[in-house]
Symmetry: C2
Subunit: 378 residues, 2 copies
């Protein structure tokens, strides 16, 4: 064997990764539909898997973005002053309780970095938002999970786990992703009261605009262990622009100034978000379009013998009626036909696929592809 | 005294900041000109303080941004595939050696998080890039500084300090900000060779496009302790779009997948950067405009009895000939006239003000304001 005679070259010394980074996998929390298409060779025909909005942004927002693009030669305002004021005015709260950021994903990472020491415990639901889990691992905290109950996040068990583990943080999405389920505002307030004062609650309200009245609690500027996440990615149709914000008590909001990426929100995104807040008519029409789209999607699912679950979001969890492998086979069959959909992965929830509100063309493709896939699977 | 009779209310318990975050000040590494104008009430007339480019982006880039804005309803490609390939093709290297990110500021933060454990030492120049220092503190590392020598970063002393402190990282900007000075490629290669293999070198080449031939070393995919930062903010005129990239060996580049904000670069920014790389003619014309602008700015400074320093960037350090207080008074006088300029703060360097390449209108305002301020100061 040639190998015997090769000289062993000692490895060249190189910089080490920091201890936490060294433990982390290289990962993408969500593989994008572009990557799926590149790898499978199947062109993307219906993009209804990432809870985006094909009904936005508004023409008024596009005009603001086009105008702001011409200002791209200079940095945006690192204080995001005008955007911050616009959000505060929209919600009728103080700007001191608002911090914009370059998308909720980035804000979630900053929140973990601020409030969870390495080794501390963070409570979340088993099957909850993967990007939050990515940040838990990324900053060296320990994840403690609580199962869903009846396709909802189990708020009593989450609060209990926060107490029992003396958690640094606890995460709850209301309405929930990936199941589309929700709790009413009174239940959320009961949850907040049941969590220890020393545990920071991350209440992710990314889908709040889609929820029925009575779902979103009133803002309480005096609650010192609550951060509420909001985004322009969903109802405002600006997923690709990267802008969201966090609401909280003034001291917690101000703490983001210790670590945030001050120039992180582009000029175009700042202008887009301000214009989006000003165009209430477009928001209303988008919400109506989402409702109509999901009603039609539910009808399609029912016609094919599947069971749509109730939803307070811009997507529909559809119970495929058998196990996770069966739902995965449906997902794979849809993907082979260029219909991009996602699904929960955790046992119990994984009997479902998750379909975002799409256009009439998206739904027609979904209808046809679903019929073909179900016929194939028998 | 009334105070005697007030009941002491015990503080309500609240979540603690993580230990590193608790040590950090609330800060903005650079107060933006918008904030300066809001606080002073003086409208911004000449924006020549942040090394932006009034000559960009190209019309072709604006067209790409306008088109991409319409795609803002969906998330951008989290792998930034097309942009990554475009950068690699532009540089004639492998995409495995390239990682785009949402601006160099964000990439610098990720680099520190990846390669510097809390408590480890990072070497940089006293008076070097403040945002890098912000990340050093932000991730709990210790900053070790080395003074400039002859208005340049002292590459021999930086390498020596990296050896003596067994530094996790060492930072060097070439060309340098804020002085505009530079080393030739051979000196940089000597510096790289003198730094220990276990110290990660951050070579910030944000101003590389402006430098004379022979300044930027050839890319070496085998160098395992070097990360090179590049940006679309300066020569490409896209500061407000938030997009930069890092070059390095494949393992180091891939490590960014452990912690990066995968959806961080907006659709508009990805499209803008791709279009910018394709428009070489605009880049050339911008570089020529910057050169002409700085020649004129240097002449203005000289006419007023100040000394422009040599520059390999899109800005000019101007030696005001006295101490830091005098240069600060000039800066303040310019600010009172709506002329936004910055200056180094460290002793020795702080005799200078730093003026970015501006338009003819910017320069006329600078000329007039400078004359008034110098007359006032006597």
């Amino acid at each position: 064997m040639k190998g015997e005679f090769l000289t062993r070259i000692p490895p060249v010394p190189r910089p080490s990764l920091a201890p936490i980074a060294a433990t982390l996998p290289e990962t993408v929390p969500f593989v994008g539909p572009e990557a799926i298409a590149r790898r499978s060779g199947v062109p993307l025909r219906a993009r209804i898997g990432a809870n985006e909005s094909p009904f936005g942004p508004a023409p008024s927002v596009l005009a603001a973005m086009t105008s702001a693009a011409r200002e791209s030669w200079h940095y945006g305002d690192p204080e995001n002053h005008d955007l911050r004021e616009a959000i505060a005015a929209h919600l009728d709260i103080s700007a001191a309780n608002v911090m914009p950021g370059e998308g909720v994903d980035a804000i979630l990472g900053m929140a973990v970095r601020l409030f969870a020491a390495p080794g501390s415990t963070i409570v979340t639901s088993l099957g909850g938002y993967p990007t939050f889990n990515y940040h838990i691992a990324g900053y060296g905290a320990q994840m403690h999970t609580v199962p869903y109950i009846g396709d909802r996040e189990d708020i009593d068990a989450l609060a209990r786990a926060a107490r029992e583990t003396q958690a640094a943080m606890v995460y709850l999405a209301n309405p929930d992703n990936p199941m589309g389920s929700w709790w009413d505002a009174a239940s959320i307030e009961r949850f907040i009261a049941a969590v220890p004062d020393t545990t920071m609650i991350v209440l992710d309200e990314a889908y709040g605009e889609f929820a029925p009245a009575g779902t979103i609690p009133a803002f309480d500027a005096g609650c010192s262990n609550l951060l509420r996440m909001r985004t322009f990615s969903k109802a405002y149709g600006l997923a690709g622009a990267r802008v969201g914000y966090v609401l909280g008590d003034a001291a917690n909001i101000s703490a983001f100034n210790r670590i945030r990426n001050h120039f992180g929100i582009s000029n175009v995104a700042q202008a887009a978000a301000i214009a989006a807040l000003a165009d209430g008519a477009h928001l209303e029409s988008s919400l109506a379009a989402v409702r109509a789209s999901l009603e039609d999607t539910a009808a399609i699912a029912s016609r094919h013998g599947l069971t749509p679950l109730p939803t307070a979001t811009n997507f529909l969890a559809i119970d495929c009626g058998r196990d996770g492998a069966y739902a995965q086979a449906i997902l794979d069959g849809l993907a082979q036909r260029g219909v991009f959909v996602r699904k929960p992965v955790v046992a119990g929830l994984n009997r479902c696929i998750r379909v975002s509100a799409g256009t009439a063309a998206d739904r027609a493709l979904f209808d046809q592809a679903l019929g073909e896939v179900l016929a194939e699977l028998g």
